[in-house]
């Protein structure tokens, strides 16, 4: 290639990049084709994080419930965590899916930050995550009374997301949420 033609390479690279970025705009990284939406939560046999018992899908028996995908290596999970504690306190059943993580570290995390989970599925190889179509952490699924996956949220779950997308399955909760400031003052 002669010297002149070579100078078009950066431009060419940039054009390709722009096409990619344009495509990126029409994709929403937080809305994912939940392959399993509307289907029953996949069958599994995994260890429970704290007790070490083998658990399966029948143990997720408090429904409707959230299944929260988390890991200690996940930066955003740490930010999400206090809100999960709030939710658990106000009675939302949350099951954890400890995804591609070290169980020892995971137990340490829960000991330090508090444990909002009823049960925690140890998915250290990520095989259940694969079945579910998890792509990262945090992710949160809603399973309804019949054990069907009815909603998926990718990214941090917070109050506004919960109000907008999750409250339909937890109607009682919305009225029960007392003013937060007041609870803070009551303390322990």
């Amino acid at each position: 290639m002669d010297l002149h033609a070579r100078r078009f390479i950066p431009l060419l690279g940039f054009v390709l990049l722009s096409v990619l970025l344009f495509r990126g705009l029409s994709l929403d990284p937080t809305s994912l084709p939940a392959a399993r939406l509307g289907q029953i939560f996949p069958e599994f046999a995994k260890l429970e994080l704290q007790s070490g018992d083998v658990i399966s899908v029948v143990d997720l028996n408090q429904r409707p419930a959230l299944v929260n995908v988390w890991a200690t290596w996940c930066y955003s999970c740490r930010i999400e965590h206090p809100y999960l504690l709030e939710l658990a306190k106000s009675g939302v059943p949350i099951y954890g899916l400890n995804y591609k993580d070290d169980p020892v570290k995971a137990r340490g995390w829960l000991a330090q930050l508090g444990d909002p989970y009823r049960l925690n599925i140890v998915d250290d190889e990520g095989s259940l995550g694969l079945d579910l179509g998890v792509y990262g952490a945090p992710e949160t699924y809603v399973i309804d009374r019949d054990g069907k996956i009815v909603h998926r949220h990718v990214g941090i779950l917070d109050q506004s997301v919960f109000r907008a997308d999750f409250s339909a399955w937890f109607p009682a909760l919305m009225d029960a949420q007392a003013p937060v400031a007041q609870r803070a003052l009551e303390g322990k």
Partner: protein, 661 residues
Amino acid sequence: MIPELGHISLIIAFVLAIGLTVIPFWGSFRTNVAAMNLAPSLAVGILVFTATAFGLLATSFLQDDFSVAVVAANSNSLLPPIFKFSALWGNHEGSLLLWVLILSTWMTAVAFLCRVLPLTMIARVLSVMGLIAVGFLAFSLLTSNPFERLLPNTPLDGSDLNPLLQDPGLIIHPPLLYMGYVGLSVPFAFAIAALIGGRLDASWARWSRPWTNVAWGFLTLGIMLGSWWAYYELGWGGWWFWDPVENASFMPWLMGTALVHSLAVTEKRGVFRSWTVLLAIFAFSLSLLGTFLVRSGVLTSVHAFAADPERGLFILVFLALVVGGSLLLYALRAPAVASRVEYNVISRESLLMVNNLVFTVAATIVLLGTLFPLVMDAFSLGKYSVGPPYFNAVFVPLMALLMPFMSIGPISRWRQDSPRRWLHELLVPAIAMAALAPLLSMMLFDFNLWVALAVLLAGWVTLGVLRDVWRRLAVGGSGGLQWQRLSPSFLGMTFAHIGFAAVVLGAVVVTQHSEEQDLRMTEGQSAELGGYRFEMTHISQEPGANYVADQATFVVSYDDKIIATLVPEKRRYLASGQVMTEAAIDAGILRDLYIALGEPIGERAWAVRLQYKPMVRWLWIGAFLIGFGALLTSLDRRYRVQVVSGQEPSPVKGQGLGFAR
């Protein structure tokens, strides 16, 4: 009324920016002196009106005018005034206004400090910057107006600033970072103007250099502050996360590092010209790309502003015009003939080439890692996230590779050097450090191969630089030290290189030797970590301005001597109900002690995380030295002489300008 005035000011600034883009540019082709002479005044005009808009928005924040949408969403009547002010840039709309304000500040600085440059050059430089201002002002006015009102349903109080952002570090982090980001538009504008004029010569490089160094210095300081803030505010002692938004600021920094060095070669030797122009375009393009990534919602990140595809499309089109246009210009106008200046393989030019290669590759690697999830998504290959393992695996070896070259770079000679001399220069420090490294690393901590290697490389770089300083001082032989031989640009380089060595050393030591413990502690209990004893003496609850805090008091002792009292907090913010951990840190040159509260466990007991972080400060001290060094170089007399003489230096013809070291 105030918000409307602000809106009008912004519109006036927009109109002036269009004028700046069109009139002087047109004048530069018609040699219309009057049209070109308008450029500086227009630049000042844009600054005045964006500053007015900024001031008026700040007033709305300080007066708790919750009829303004941005104020209602990001402020609260209980918020301390200083945070009401900084809340202005804690959101998309306001930070964009800050972006434009800083851009117009840079424009005005160029207009004033470059008065002696050829008029066509300055007119074109300011026009290019004017075009960028048009884009961003239009972006602000059309998609993200900061003065939008909530009428008639004005909320009684605002929903508060995110507690994470209620911190002194966050008051100055964004402005510094933007100074860097936006400052890279100056070398970009110079590069474009030079391409248009077909004059890519040493004088172009000399004009761009101080601006580039200053912008890059600010970028360094901004990134440093961000890392420091994450360390103490997020409550778990991490200092770098390879988060997409961090990467967005890191990519221009890496490219800017290459540019800073490449400009040196172009200025002094007249080579690498096309390459330098390309780097100037890349560096600013990456700042724009960072803006796109942060504000378009294409990637998920904890820092990302509220996603909005419409905004994303706007920036993308703007990005395509600016970057695509400049790369097309480059393809058409870059010097067709390879430079006639020759240099040997064994020369300073080659070493700086290595620097350029390493930093360009590093920037590309970060770019690929950041965009990889998007690529896989775009081709429907699934959703992925790329984490620290990828970045560390490729980044660490690259930097390690760089350091031997760095140790010889500053003492090498332009054009031609001899391997014998290099060997001679390097051998003494290399042997000294090879012997010292294991000793030093063992003296401070237990022996660790990685730390020993880091000490070796960092010490090698530092000794090389210090020997050079000494040689300069002692030259002449008449006994006295020749202080005047240490020019600001030489000193700046020295500081920056030593700073880099400090960052590397700090990063390796803190990664290898950190210790941490998660414990359940009650009043009166104590724990040991890293030889320190932590006793929790009591727990209390204290009200703050807009939060309630649970506090635990720790007395820290070493060998039975009390060295610090630390009070970590757990705050619950009243307006949002968000809970925040305020870590307590006893900082030191050789180690930080870091305590963060977790959750309460039962009666008067808390989950506590204790951390021992050796040499973590070196990261920020080092980064500060880099930034400070970069700013210092701009004081060099060389850049001012040109201003005083006001002559147009002749383009390089075959020879370097002979700024022998």
